[in-house]
Symmetry: C2
Subunit: 493 residues, 2 copies
C-alpha cells in the first residue's frame, strides 16, 4: 500500500508509525504489528499504532526515530522480529540458546521491540528464571552490545553495590584506599533517580564527573583511579532499556541483575570486582540465604567471563553514614578520609577495600593503615584535582543548606530503627539530589539511648518551601524509631 509520509512530533523509544484505522484494516495490521517501509532514499521497519483522528487515510505518521522519511512510502506487512519468537519460547519455560539470547539483546539494543514485547521479556525472565548458562550468555551478549574500555594493566579493580541503603557512600573511600595502594580502579557511578544521592551526585560536590573516555584515561594514568559518571561512557546501553520495563513493575530478576552488573563491569575493562549485597528488612535482598545464592551466582558468572568476583554480604536495614544528600554525604566522605567520620562508614569502607585488594593479589596491603596515614585522603585529593576540583577542600567549604530544622526525641528510650526509605524520601522532599546542600544529618544510631528532647536528626534545605515540604512528611512518619527497652522487644499495635 502506498501512503504519504507526514512527520509527527512524538516522544518514542521505538520506531512508531501512525496508520489510519481504515488503512490498517486494509493492510491487515493490528497495533504493534511491524510494517516494512520503503521510500525514495531509505528503508526501515516501523511499529504500527492505529488512529482514527491524528492521521487521515492515505497518510502515514512517521516519528523521527525512523530518520527523515518523506514523500510516498510503500508500506507492506513485515514479520515480528526473531526476538519475539524467542521471548515466546522463554514464556513457555524452554531454556534459550546463546544465539537466541543474542537476538533478543540485539533487538533490544536497536529498539526493535515494542513495550509489550520488552515487558514480556522481563516478565519471562522473572517468572521462568534464567539458568546459570542463560545468565552467562546474557551477560556476554549485553557486554558485546556496549562500548568497551581497556587498560594497559593486568589487574583492574572495581566495586558495585546492588543498592537500596541510604547514606551508603563507601565508594569514594574504597576507591581512594585501593588507588593509594597502587591498584588501578577506574570507577564509573550513577546519578540518583529515586534516591537522594548517587555517588556521581556526591562527587559532583567536589569536582566534575562528566568526562570522555580519553579524559578518563588521563585521570586514571595520573591517580590510579577516578570517580566519574558512567552515563557518559555508554557501557551497557541495553541495560537502560531493560530497566525501563523493570521499574514500573518493581521487578529485578536475579539473573537479569547479575547480567546487568557484570556486563557493565566487563565493558569497563574490570578484572576484579567486589559486589556489596546489602540484605535485610527494607533492602533489595530480603534475607541472608537469598543474599548468599545471589553471591554464588555472581561469582560463577564472573568466573565464566574470566573475572574475579568477590561478594560482601552486608546489613542493609539502616543507613550506613550520618549524611543523606550530596553535600551531607560528601562531608561524611571527607571526614572519614581525614580520620573522623561515622564509625560504620569507615569500617565498611575499609573492609570492602581489604577484600578487593586481597582478591587483586595485594594481601600485603593494610587498608586501615592507608586510611589512618592519610594516604587515602591524599589520593582522593589527587583525584579531585585531576577531575577539575579544589584539592584543598575542607569541611568548611561544604556547608549544608541554610534552612534547617532539627527533630528531637519525644520520649526517653532507645533508637531501635532508622528507616532507609523514609529518610531518603524526606531528604528528597528537602530538595536532594538537585539541591546539593539539601538532605538529612542523622545524630543518633540504632542502639543509642536517648532522652526526651535529645536531637535525633536535622533536615537541611536550600529553600524554606522545600524544608516545609520535608517537615510535613517527617511529621506524619517515623524515620527514626525510639522505643523503651520493653517496646523494642514487643510492640503492641
Amino acid at each position: 500500500m502506498e501512503l504519504t509520509a507526514r512527520e509527527i512530533d512524538i516522544g518514542t523509544r521505538s520506531p512508531t508509525v501512525l496508520v489510519n484505522s481504515d488503512d490498517a484494516a486494509e493492510l491487515g495490521v493490528h497495533p504493534l504489528d511491524r510494517v516494512q517501509l520503503a521510500w525514495a532514499g531509505g528503508r526501515g521497519v516501523g511499529i504500527v499504532e492505529t488512529t482514527d483522528e491524528l492521521v487521515p487515510a492515505g497518510e502515514l505518521g512517521v516519528t523521527r526515530r525512523l530518520g527523515h522519511v518523506s514523500g510516498t512510502v510503500e508500506v507492506t506487512v513485515a514479520p515480528h522480529p526473531d526476538a519475539v519468537h524467542y521471548i515466546r519460547k522463554k514464556l513457555d519455560g524452554i531454556e534459550l540458546e546463546r544465539d537466541e539470547i543474542d537476538r533478543i539483546v540485539t533487538d533490544i539494543a536497536e529498539d526493535r521491540l515494542s513495550d509489550i514485547e520488552l515487558a514480556a521479556y522481563v516478565v519471562a525472565t522473572y517468572t521462568r528464571g534464567l539458568s546459570l548458562a542463560e545468565t552467562m550468555h546474557l551477560t556476554q551478549c549485553m557486554t558485546n552490545a556496549g562500548h568497551h574500555l581497556s587498560w594497559d594493566v593486568p589487574v583492574v579493580a572495581d566495586k558495585h553495590s546492588i543498592g537500596g541503603v541510604a547514606g551508603n557512600r563507601v565508594t569514594p573511600i574504597v576507591v581512594s584506599i585501593v588507588a593509594a595502594a597502587g591498584v588501578t580502579i577506574p570507577k564509573t557511578s550513577s546519578r540518583a533517580v529515586t534516591s537522594p544521592a548517587g555517588t556521581a551526585d556526591t562527587m559532583e560536590v567536589f569536582c566534575d564527573v562528566e568526562f570522555s573516555t580519553e579524559e578518563i584515561r588521563e585521570i586514571v594514568a595520573e591517580t590510579n583511579g577516578c570517580l566519574v559518571w558512567g552515563g557518559g561512557v555508554n557501557l551497557s546501553p541495553v541495560d537502560d532499556k531493560i530497566i525501563r520495563a523493570e521499574m514500573p513493575l518493581s521487578l529485578d530478576p536475579h539473573g537479569q541483575l547479575i547480567a546487568s552488573v557484570l556486563s557493565k563491569k566487563r565493558s569497563a575493562g574490570s578484572t576484579h570486582v567486589i559486589v556489596d549485597i546489602p540484605y535485610g528488612e527494607g533492602a533489595k535482598v530480603a534475607d541472608l540465604n537469598a543474599a548468599r545464592e545471589l553471591a554464588d551466582d555472581f561469582v560463577r558468572v564472573g568466573d565464566h567471563l574470566g573475572m574475579t568476583i568477590e561478594c560482601a554480604i552486608t546489613r542493609g536495614e539502616v543507613p550506613v553514614g550520618r549524611g543523606i544528600g550530596p553535600v551531607l554525604e560528601a562531608r561524611d566522605v571527607l571526614a572519614t578520609l581525614d580520620g573522623n567520620g561515622p564509625e560504620e562508614l569507615r569500617l565498611k569502607s575499609v573492609r570492602l577495600a581489604e577484600i578487593l585488594l586481597d582478591c587483586c593479589g595485594r594481601e600485603d596491603v593494610d587498608a586501615t593503615e592507608i586510611l589512618r596515614s592519610g594516604r587515602a585522603l591524599a589520593t582522593f585529593r589527587d583525584i579531585v584535582a585531576a577531575q577539575g576540583g579544589d584539592p584543598d577542600v575542607t569541611l568548611d567549604d561544604l556547608p549544608p543548606g541554610r534552612h534547617e530544622t532539627t527533630v528531637s526525641a519525644s520520649r526517653d528510650g532507645v533508637v531501635t530503627h532508622v528507616d532507609n526509605r523514609l529518610v531518603s524520601d524526606i531528604a528528597r522532599r528537602a530538595g536532594a539530589p538537585r539541591d546539593k546542600r539539601a538532605g538529612i544529618d542523622l545524630h543518633r544510631r540504632v542502639g543509642d539511648e536517648v532522652q526526651t528532647g535529645d536531637r535525633l536528626f536535622t533536615i537541611y534545605a536550600e529553600s524554606a518551601a522545600k524544608l516545609s515540604d520535608a517537615e510535613r512528611l517527617q511529621r506524619k512518619s517515623e524515620a527514626v524509631r525510639v522505643r523503651t527497652r520493653d517496646e523494642a522487644l514487643v510492640e503492641h499495635v
Copy 2:
C-alpha cells in the same frame, strides 16, 4: 513542580505526558511512572515519558487523552495504580481475589495502565494461569465494564467460534435456522483483521451491519434474529485493550479467552450459547484433550454466570466451506440455505443449530427440516431485508472478482491437505476482505482423487495487480497438497 502545558500531537492509548529529562530527574520520576497533574480547570494522572529534545525544561507535553490541559500545571509524583500491585502479585504466583481482579479490569478499562503493565498482566495470566475462580471473577468484572443489551424473552440463543479455520461461515446459517424455529438469536459478529473475512464482512455483502442498539432491537423483534457488527455496540471494551497485548506475542491464555468470550455473550444478554472449538494441526487448539479441557471450563464458568453453555469440538485442520473471502463465503451461505452449497458447511451448520436448539429446550425442532423446507432461507431473507438489503438476492447478484486464475494439479494423486493459513493469506493478497469479491474458491476437498490438470482452486481479485500478488504467494507455497497414496502416508523430505 510547576510546568507549562504544551499540547503534543501523539497517538496514544494511555494518558502520556512528555517531561524533559532534567525535570524528570528533579521530580525523581522514571519513564512510565505516574504524575498527578493539577491545572486551572482540572486534574488528572499522566504516565511519564522522558525526552531530551521534544519538550524543553519547564514545559510539559500533554496528549489529548488527558483533555484540554493548558497554562501552568502543578506536577507531583503519583503512586502506581493498585492494579500494578495485583499484577505483581499474580506474577509471583498468588491467586487474586475478586476485588483485585476488579481493580485490574477497571484500570485497563480506563486506560490507566502503560503497555509494560498491560503486557505484564497478560503474561502473568499466561505463565501462571488463571484458576477457575479467577476466570469466573474476571468474566464477571469484564461484563460489568461494558454496555449491556437486554431482551424481553427468557431464552436468548447465541453462537461463538474461537476461530482460526478458513471458510467457516456457519453463523448466518445457524442463526437463520434457530430464528426460523422461533428462538431469539441476536448475533453480533466481528470484522476480519488478519483473516480474509469475518461474519460481519460476509453479511455486508447482503445488507448493512452497523446498527444502534435500538435498531438491533427492531430487527430482532421482526425476525427473531440479526447478523450485525458487534463493534458498534461496545459490549466488552476491556477485551479490545487486552487483545492489544496478546496479539504481538500470539498469546491467548485459556482463562482470558473464556472470560473474553463469555463476558461479551453475557453483556449481549445471551442465556444459551454454543461455542465452536476447532482443534487440530494449524488450529488454535492443538489436540482433542486440550479442546475438551477448554470446553469443560467454558461450561463451568458459564454455569457460574447463570448461562447454559454447550461446546462443539470440531475438526479445524482444513477449511469448512468452498469459498474464502466475503462474496465467495456469501455465495456458500446462500447456496447452503437454498439446499445446495458445500456438504461440510451444511452438516456443521445443522449440527451446531441442533445442539443450540436442544440446549434452549427446543428438542422438538428438526433443524435439518427447517433448512430443507426453505424456512431458514426465508428467515435469512427477512433478516437481510430488516437490515436494509435486497431480500430477493440470488447467486447471480454475487459474482466474484472479474480477474481470476485457476490453479490445477501438477500431478495425479489425492488431495491430502488444504492449508488454512495459506489459503487465507492468498485470499488476503488477492484483496479480501476490503475487496469484497476477492478470495478463493476451492474445487476439491481433502480425500478427492485428482489427475494432472484437474482444477484445484480459483483465485479471484478485483484488480490485476492484486491477482498477481496472490499468484506470487501461491506459486511459492502449496495451499492444496496433492500426493500419491504412498506419499500421503510417508512423506520423504
